[in-house]
């Protein structure tokens, strides 16, 4: 029973928006671009006999074909299920035999492979990652098994904590047909439409060395690792098709409501928000300070109002997701069914407070200390560093972004933060409401916020 689970993963997105303290600098790293376009980043550190590797292939679930949500995620899963000469079980055995960790998964704009091995097993690690990316078996039997299991796991998730389903429902409703509305893991109905042929085509068309970033940190010899990665990845083919262009989603004015009916639910789960900003948004430090104070830490405005003062909820937070194009801004929380509207009202008025009053000087100092104080542990292990270097590369930033972050935070003023709040956070009359609960008990009250669309939790999809 945690006091609070996961609150601090506040700014959910593909990049460490959070930031550096004055005395936090990234370790030195070497960046090499191979002939096929693969970017290799190496950072040596001999503290612990471990090596972390992060490989990112640009693309991800946002490039899933229409109605076939979950394809990138299935392909990522298949990469682990047999590669080169090794069958699925042999591949898993090879990893486990040396106590390694190796996972592939899809994100919205990338497919990633994360590895964490003892340094003595560095050669094996590189071999396994190269095989799964370049020579996956993609067997039909494994595909069918994985697809069917994924469908059933979604059915099972509908009997578990509904918080886990909320991002998929909320993004589907906010973005609609836009690629950022794609549920990353797919839906029961979209997965059922995907064939083995789709997976083979996706692998050929969307995965290749031209869009690969490999970042390795930890206990190895730099020259040897560079050599090994160059040999293993330098000649990998390019993907057959270009990455699809993604247009910017436009915020829909006014208010609208999606109500997901879970009969018998004793609690209502809600997300309230709208379209936010892109990765290229320049005022990152201001945004991080604003979101830390609004809903990014335990004493945030949302936690204070919804938990500490009122006891309405166990947790409340705000998240700002930024991608190549503008992502979402959401307030999320949950409360007993009978207090659903009361809690939503508190959330909206807290948003109003943020927009009207901004941050005072004491809040700014506190948030800056907090962001800076919490940063070093995020760069502590080899695996974390490998991930940070890969993500910086993916969004086109370099080490100075982190090394100068303390200065950027220090430069933020009440005025510059107020301007960012005004730009990024929606006004209380332009909101998308996504509520999951016992519809019969809350349907009428929610109609007051705007037109209500209903969807049963047993429907096999996230898009209404």
């Amino acid at each position: 029973m945690n006091r609070l689970t996961g609150l601090l993963a506040a700014l959910a997105l593909a990049l460490p928006v959070s930031a550096g303290a004055d005395d936090v600098t990234l370790p030195a790293a070497e960046r090499v671009v191979l002939e096929n376009g693969t970017v290799v980043i190496l950072s040596e550190n001999h503290d612990v006999p471990l090596i972390g590797l992060e490989a990112l292939v640009r693309g991800g679930a946002a490039s899933d074909p229409d109605e076939k949500y979950g394809l990138a995620s299935l392909v990522a899963g298949l990469l682990e299920r047999g590669a080169g000469e090794r069958s699925a079980v042999e591949f898993a055995e090879a990893v486990a035999a040396v106590g390694g960790e190796l996972n592939a998964s899809a994100g919205l704009e990338s497919l990633s492979v994360s590895a964490d091995f003892m340094s003595k097993d560095a050669d094996l690690m590189v071999e396994l990652v190269a095989e799964m990316l370049q020579r996956p078996q993609l067997k039909r039997a494994e595909f069918t098994k994985l697809r069917d299991r994924s469908i059933n796991l979604l059915k099972a998730a509908k009997g578990s904590d509904p918080s886990n389903l909320m991002p998929a429902y909320a993004n589907a409703f906010l973005f609609g047909d836009h690629p950022y509305g794609n549920p990353v893991g797919g839906s029961e109905s979209s997965l059922a439409k995907i064939s083995h042929g789709d997976a083979l085509a996706y692998y050929q068309n969307m995965i290749g060395g031209d869009r690969l970033i490999i970042s390795v940190s930890g206990d190895f010899e730099l020259a040897a690792m560079r050599e090994a990665l160059t040999t293993a990845f330098g000649e990998w083919r390019a993907a057959a098709e270009p990455l699809p262009d993604i247009a910017a989603a436009v915020a829909v004015p006014g208010a609208r409501v999606l109500l997901i009916d879970k009969p018998g639910a004793t609690q209502s789960y809600f997300r309230i928000g709208n379209i936010g900003v892109a990765e290229s948004y320049p005022k990152r430090a201001e945004l991080e300070l604003a979101n830390t104070v609004f809903g990014g830490r335990f004493t945030s405005m949302l936690m204070t109002e919804l938990r500490t003062k009122s006891g309405l909820s166990y947790g409340a937070r705000s998240s700002v997701a930024r991608y190549t194009q503008p992502g979402s801004v959401f307030i999320s929380s949950f409360t007993e069914t009978s207090t659903t509207v009361e809690a939503i009202e508190v959330a909206i008025s807290t948003l109003g407070q943020l927009r009207d009053n901004g941050l005072d000087d004491a809040m700014i100092v506190s948030a800056r200390n907090y962001v800076m104080g919490q940063f070093p542990p995020r760069l502590e292990t080899a695996a974390q560093l490998a991930g940070v270097f890969a993500m910086l590369e993916a969004v086109g930033l370099d080490a100075s972004y982190i090394n100068n972050y303390g200065a950027s935070l220090a430069a933020a003023t009440g005025e510059s933060i107020a301007a960012v709040i005004d730009e990024v956070y929606p006004t209380p009359d332009n909101l998308v409401f996504v509520v999951l609960g016992d519809a019969e008990l809350i349907r009428d009250q929610l109609a007051a916020y705007g037109p209500v669309t209903e969807l049963s939790i047993s429907e096999p999809r996230f898009h209404p």
Binding site: V95, M118, D161
Partner: protein, 558 residues
């Protein structure tokens, strides 16, 4: 002897004694005021050094010079018949007597006035603190441990890789210390510890910590309540102040208690009422244990959450949050002496309490298989299967832990391969062992595909476990499990957070933090035969509790 009597005659011995007493007074005054002045921790040691250097100087001076009616003269120049060393000696005696009386008064004052603190510098001089160094092989030499006079145990592992510090406070209070009427109280305290003290309003604890760059969390289990702070080095003193304040001066404001009941209810709705695994787990624990308090859900039964009284809360806090019931661990960018000195200053004044009543109930041997069925809205049925096993220190616990790794540890594990990949009768399988203060359970949980035949899957699972008891495991499986566990061990020790968790766990469950480093040797010693024997002892139907959750109409389909 001639030298000794001359030392006495020249008052050198008295001067020595007076110097020592005078030094104590100086240290006393200085030590008390340095804290107010915010002087660095080493300031006390500096004053001590100056006084120590002055000691031989004073003795030589006393030997070589003599006070005469006409002023200070070299001893050799003084006519022995005119010497007044005897009178000077009497004055020295009087001065010592005054100092002695003052000392006695101070000690008495300390006893009579509980708020009066004996200046911190006195005790270490009279009774030098013991900063324990590791004595077992393979334990990092920089670790230090120390127990304060009030029983608070502190372990420090300095590691200067990042400018941050982690603090863990292990409170020996969990669901096992509860009984009907106060179930869930340990967990409720985990919340109340953040809700205000006699000096700080509700919310101020977190506001102060976050403004200093720190964050925190806490969890409650069957055995413990654990508080964690993660903060930059610059916030160390703030953390001590905050932690000492809530241990010493917690406010249990009745209004806040009412509001916090709502928060805990919300947590219960998320983790139990609206989560099928949570619901099944709660019922299974209550079925597997008929006597031992491990039957109590950590979150508490709803009617108890509603009915704790103010008096329940106050007496629970006094008993379980006493310094002698806590173990604190600090890892990261710290110096051990600095931590011990601050701990003494901030936690030292908190009075110890009589130790809590030990938990003496022993779960009786299970008399035959137990089963429960929950019918709930669920597309995917669930099976939980548990067997009684030992406590953390039971010799069979490590072999069983290795076995769990072999059975359900990763995608290549036996049961995952059999039930999920090959037979495809389960969507996922996991397992764990409680490894607590008292004998607990080995526990498996499975998610099944919609429409699955739960009896069939249960039989497959039990047969697979029974097969281990009958046929054992292979050397290759054992070696793989060892490698996985060793790599995980290194990963856990690669962060200051992992280090703090490991030291504290070893200290609390095994009585010695040094046990945190024995895993590699212990694993090497585990044999396949031991594992088979443990499996045979544990995986018996009469020792089993099975819980099934499925939708009400699931039975009708067949």
């Amino acid at each position: 002897m001639a030298l000794f009597s001359e030392l006495r005659r020249r008052n050198v011995l008295k001067v020595a004694l007076l110097y020592a007493l005078g030094s104590l007074v100086v240290l006393w005054i200085v030590g008390g005021s340095l804290n107010w002045l915010g002087a660095p921790v080493w300031a006390n040691e500096f004053v001590l050094l100056v006084l120590a250097l002055g000691f031989p100087v004073a003795l030589i001076f006393a030997w070589a010079y003599e006070i005469t009616p006409s002023g200070l003269k070299k001893s050799l120049d003084v006519d022995q018949t005119q010497s007044i060393v005897f009178k000077t000696g009497q004055k020295l005696n009087a001065a010592m007597a005054v100092l002695a009386v003052l000392g006695v008064l101070a000690l008495v004052g300390e006893r009579l006035l509980p708020t009066f603190e004996l200046p911190k510098i006195i005790e270490p001089i009279l009774l030098p603190p013991v900063y324990e160094e590791p004595d077992a092989e393979g334990v990092p030499a920089e670790i230090r441990a120390h127990t304060l006079g009030n029983g608070l145990r502190i372990i420090v592992w300095p590691d200067h890789d990042i400018p941050n510090v982690v603090m863990y406070n292990f409170v020996r209070a969990g669901a096992r210390n509860e009984y009907p009427g106060i179930t869930g109280l340990s967990h409720f305290f985990e919340h109340m510890m953040f809700n205000g003290t006699k000096r700080r309003e509700q919310g101020e604890f977190d506001e102060t910590m976050e403004a200093a760059g720190g964050s925190n969390n806490a969890y409650t289990s069957e055995d413990l309540t654990v508080y964690m702070d993660w903060f930059p080095r610059s916030a160390i003193e703030t953390i001590f102040d905050l932690e000492a304040d809530r241990l010493h001066h917690l406010a249990i404001d009745p209004e806040v208690v009412e509001s916090e009941r709502g928060v805990v209810y919300s947590e219960r709705r998320s983790g139990v009422d609206n989560d099928n695994d949570g619901m099944l787990n709660e019922q299974l624990m209550a079925t597997a244990f008929v006597a031992h308090p491990y039957q109590i859900p950590v979150i508490g039964w709803p009617s108890d959450i509603e009915n704790w009284s103010q008096q329940d809360l106050e007496s629970y806090f006094r008993r379980y949050y006493a310094p002698n019931n806590l173990t604190m661990v600090f890892t990261g960018d710290v110096d051990a002496r600095e931590i011990f000195a601050m701990a003494k200053r901030y936690f030292g004044p908190i009075p110890s309490q009589p130790p809590p009543k030990p938990v003496t109930t022993v779960e009786p041997e299970q008399q035959g298989e137990r089963r429960l069925l929950i019918e709930a809205e669920a597309q995917a049925p669930l099976i939980h299967m548990a067997f009684h096993a030992g406590s953390a220190t039971d010799p069979e616990t490590l072999p069983l832990s290795v076995l769990l790794n072999i059975l359900v540890g990763d995608d290549s594990s036996r049961l995952h391969q059999q039930l999920v990949e090959n037979e495809q009768v389960a969507l996922a399988i996991g397992g764990f062992q409680m490894e607590g203060l008292d004998p607990g359970l080995v526990y498996f949980y499975l998610t099944l595909p919609p429409g699955a035949d739960t009896d069939d899957v249960e039989n497959r699972l039990f047969s697979a476990l029974d097969r281990v008891a009958e046929e054992g495991i292979t050397e290759a499986e054992l070696q793989k499990a060892r490698n996985i566990m060793i790599a995980d061990y290194w990963r856990s020790l690669s962060t200051i957070n992992g280090k703090a968790a490991a030291l504290g766990r070893a200290e609390v469950f095994f009585g010695d933090y040094q046990q945190a480093f024995s895993l590699p040797d212990d694993l090497a010693a585990v044999t396949a035969a031991e594992i088979q024997q443990a499996a045979a002892n544990v995986f018996r139907r009469a020792n089993m509790t099975v819980g099934v959750l499925r939708s009400p109409d699931a039975g009708d389909e067949e």
